[in-house]
């Protein structure tokens, strides 16, 4: 595990890959828009023109891209990772993506003597930058054990939750909780607004007990300041909730709270707010109630 491949150098991937370079690993990199890899190249990463080329020179290839169809292309495509992956190597997809796709990748990889892990993360750009991500992994124990030292460069809360797809499923549990957290935060602050309360004072007193959540304590103050800049962008959250609802449907599971949150976020998108942070849901429910935001 000396030659590492990295595919996808967006806001998350760039920081995560940087930690591996800092730790002395030899890294090959590919991303759709080469400019986004320039900082990593300057730090010593070797550029490759395709995911396949990355895989050909790597013991372990990480991918963290946008949507499930991107995962499919960079891993299973003609010039994808699997086309170049050496027998005995490992593919680790850290994109938040479909559990079923993770299972498909693991099966396809296995047939070529390659191991695959699904390992989506939580903790956002700050967690990526500080190396404090939660990493939720699905796959085989042996592969997990081999990759673990690399995960430890990126995160502090790392677990193998089961076989292929179980990392993605766990991330879906995470996103279900995030959805309800934002809904509660937004509704509580709308109530506070109508009741003539000071939002920051309310957050301070409710944020320590049974009502406390990451959402009220972190997104609440941003809403109070009408700061809708993204930590986590609405359009990616809509993707994640869509995956969770599709999986829930497949598993014969009704999740009314998640479905409702998804609908209101679709309204956010309809209103052109999809590049705001998830706390932008406040604007949607404010508008619904004829409140300025």
């Amino acid at each position: 595990m000396k030659q590492i491949g990295w595919i996808g150098t967006g806001i998350m991937g760039k920081s995560m890959c940087g930690h591996l370079i800092d730790a002395g690993y030899s890294v090959s990199v590919y991303t759709r828009t080469r400019e986004k890899a320039e900082d990593l190249i300057a730090s010593g990463a070797a550029w490759c023109d395709t995911p396949r080329a990355v895989a050909e020179r790597s013991d372990c290839v990480f991918t963290i891209v946008g949507y499930p169809y991107d995962v499919r292309e960079v891993i299973l495509g003609a010039d994808g990772v699997l086309a170049g992956a050496r027998s005995g190597s490992i593919i680790v997809d850290m994109t938040t993506s479909e559990p079923a796709l993770a299972e498909e990748i693991a099966a396809e990889a296995s047939s070529r003597g390659v191991a695959a892990l699904d390992a989506p993360v939580s903790g956002g750009d700050t967690g990526a930058r500080n190396g404090t991500l939660a990493i939720m992994c699905g796959g085989e124990q042996a592969a997990f054990d081999r990759v673990r030292p690399l995960f430890e460069r990126m995160g502090t809360n790392i677990a193998l939750l089961g076989g292929p797809g179980r990392g993605q499923h766990t991330k879906m549990c995470n996103q279900i909780l995030v959805a309800s957290g934002v809904v509660g935060t937004v509704e509580a602050l709308l109530y506070a607004y109508r009741a003539g309360l000071d939002a920051e004072q309310v957050i301070e007193i409710v944020g320590t007990g049974a009502a406390s959540s990451w959402s009220i304590n972190n997104l609440g103050p941003r809403i109070a300041k009408r700061d809708y800049d993204p930590g986590f962008i609405i359009k990616h959250f809509i993707k994640d909730m869509g995956i969770a609802l599709a999986e829930a449907k497949r598993m014969q599971l009704a999740l009314p709270g998640l479905a409702m949150a998804h609908e209101f976020y679709k309204a956010a998108s309809a209103q052109g707010l999809e590049d705001l942070g998830t706390q932008g849901l406040y604007k949607v429910l404010a508008k619904l109630n004829g409140i300025e935001s």
Copy 2:
């Protein structure tokens, strides 16, 4: 502020009143069922036969009873606190009750030269026992300042949020957050169940980041053990959500997440589950999905 009155010695009131006795205050007590006051009487509290009699000998009377109609009776009733309250004394209602009733009590009290505070709490039986409650107060600053040393025997996070009713309104914000927290926790754990994940493992990895909440970290493990014993009982929570929704209606505010949670808790009641803890919502959504719980 030496002679203190206390009305309502349920699971919360008994601990809270006990802290005042322990601090050396002289306490008169009344509660509907005298047996529930025996421990406090044994600790030195003087029994009175009516709220009125309590008020006649007190500088400050605390009430913490069940429902808004109980508050109305013990404070505004013929044998209620206001009938006996001395000019210059203070009434502090710590029940979670209606903001409009708090305003009515404050106005009625004011006309008799008595101050009134609404000061509902958060933190549950544990917070009451340990003196670590959050106390959300509405009313006049001068009265708040006088009562503050007594609040400090009961809680650690104490704030005056505005005039009469603003403590109750803040508690409603708290309960809106609690509602969404439980919904998210329940849905995430149902998803985990269907996906074949270990609930405790999931809670451990999602409970530290953007998905974290008091609910997933405290109610989640109880659900994982199918422990539905009450910390906070469903029927009281239904009362609180009912107050919040009635106030929201009055303020022309649609809160779809809260309304949905309230509906599912009404289903819990319909299924005879109203004496379970709030985490009993898991049983409702499990049944909805044909899952054993």
